[in-house]
């Protein structure tokens, strides 16, 4: 069957609320710097009240990747849960306007659309404080043959395991992918997410994940090894493709007979690292979906990440391939 959709993302649909803060602010609110901190509605209100003026834009890790994939010219679809409110409208608009096929309608019931208060410190790190809101209502009923369709790749987000039906709905997605011959990729989201769900991620990978996307910390925590070299050694015999990003140390692809090492591009003016990994993944998977050699996939991934860290905001711009 031809794949009219190349990639289908399933993830938490989030609007980013970005503000610049100093390190004292991160300390004052007790957030873990550089991490995605899950917060409830009360704490969301507290943090927002203490924050300075902000800028709003659509976000979410795998949603950023899907948007980037579409902006590169790929055919993308998306399953995520927003509420029928203004933030939900913004999220869906931004996806649809670049050609992403949104598979779920906004919900009239339940919690408001998720938002992440993203605090950018002078060192260009981002500390995320995420109120999951409407995302928590994504369920197995939303993942069907009708909503998944027949993509070439289903891309799952580690953060989805943070919601109640996350384990069940991702299992269902893997089953549907197997039925339809789609490949499955899993982005591990962040090291704390790996620590929360290590066993579940290992089960999912065994059950049918073809591509694991991880940064250095995430793969070390997933495999419970001492360092990156030990992680690569542990992956020696695997058939799963591991796509591993290492910030300024570049990226490494391991799996089957493959072993690709791609250096990073030196950037003097890092503005905001938000979305670097998501942008890399967009570029890598875009190449993968066109059946490029892996070494070419890593080059485009690197190019996308290099662009996104030189701007505020996590999504790569349309037309990036024109300058590539």
């Amino acid at each position: 069957m031809p794949h009219s959709t190349q990639i289908l993302g399933i993830s938490n649909a989030i609007v980013d609320i970005l503000a610049h803060v100093d390190d004292a602010f991160i300390d004052a609110i007790g957030a873990t710097k550089g991490a995605m901190n899950l917060i409830d509605e009360t704490r969301a209100r507290e943090i927002y009240e203490r924050m300075g003026p902000a800028t709003e834009m659509s976000g979410g890790s795998v949603a950023n990747t899907v948007a980037g994939f579409a902006n590169l010219g790929g055919a993308a679809a998306y399953i995520g849960h927003v509420h029928d409110d203004q933030l939900g409208e913004i999220f869906n608009h931004d996806m649809r306007s670049i050609g992403v096929d949104i598979r779920l309608e906004p919900s009239a019931d339940g919690s408001p659309t998720a938002r992440s208060y993203i605090l950018i410190t002078p060192d260009a790190q981002r500390t995320m404080n995420t109120y999951l809101g409407s995302c928590t209502e994504l369920g197995t009923a939303d993942v069907t043959h009708a909503t998944v369709g027949t993509p070439k790749l289903v891309l799952l987000e580690g953060y989805v395991w943070d919601i109640a039906e996350g384990p069940a709905l991702t299992r269902r997605a893997i089953e549907i992918a197997r039925d339809t011959g789609a490949k499955v990729a899993l982005s591990l989201s962040d090291r704390y997410c790996v620590q929360r769900h290590r066993a579940a991620f290992a089960d999912a990978i065994r059950a049918g994940v073809d591509i694991v996307i991880a940064d250095e910390n995430e793969i070390i925590d997933l495999l419970e090894v001492d360092g990156f070299d030990a992680a690569v050694a542990a992956l020696d015999a695997t058939d799963t493709l591991y796509v591993m990003t290492r910030s300024e140390k570049g990226s490494v692809i391991v799996g089957g007979d493959e072993h690709v090492v791609q250096p990073a591009t030196r950037v003097d003016n890092v503005v905001d690292t938000t979305g670097a990994g998501d942008a890399y993944t967009a570029g890598f998977l875009y190449g993968w979906a066109q059946d490029w050699p892996l070494a070419e996939c890593t080059k485009l991934g690197t190019h996308c990440a290099t662009q996104v860290i030189q701007q505020v905001g996590a999504r790569i711009e349309p037309g990036l391939l024109d300058s590539y």
Copy 2:
């Protein structure tokens, strides 16, 4: 009486929805390039559906000036009408978070919070498409001694004349200012706004406006003269202070015995001219509120405008005076 509030702004409270477009897009939607185009809810939906991904941030002309004034360290208050929705929350948060005293609560009834679809073309011009929504419900009942208080300056926005009770509520604001000894400034908003309300603006200025803020086109259209020199000549005998900005030609202040000419600062990297005039006004009025000589007020105004055209977005950042 001491002025715990230096400036009180009364204006349309708007959230900006900013996107980059090409000139063909402006043609396709039939908007007047470089102008503020008033649109209804249906057209707002049409334009948004055709627009690419956007970024949201608080806006509004005089609201930007008030925010800039507060970011410079001045004591500011604000009267504007938002709905009790997510965009309204964003607008009020962004104002309050920099210390602006918000005088009206969000409305539970009526239209959603106003938004302006701001389309930035490659020449760094902005074309605004504004759905006034909740702003249209601002009324004379909202302008009282309690909500206005005793500021040193009441700053009115020309665009307020576009709403039903605008003429009456601005008249009321001028009366209250006269009662309390506050000065009144009027920002003419844009040349099309001047063309819509020329007679009403002239009446208001006669009735009690102490400072008129206008760009070159606005003052020419207000006075119905042939060019800027003719405008300056026509203002020779006035007691009202006219603060006139001329983009790269700098600014000119005329009124009473005053005649100040301030050159612009050369900028090679103009990113987005949105809010240049509003930022100038913030700097100028900040100096005025501290009783600086007018030549110093124009210098700070110029500095603020120079900053804001080198960024995307209309509001000047906190800490600008640190680098001044």
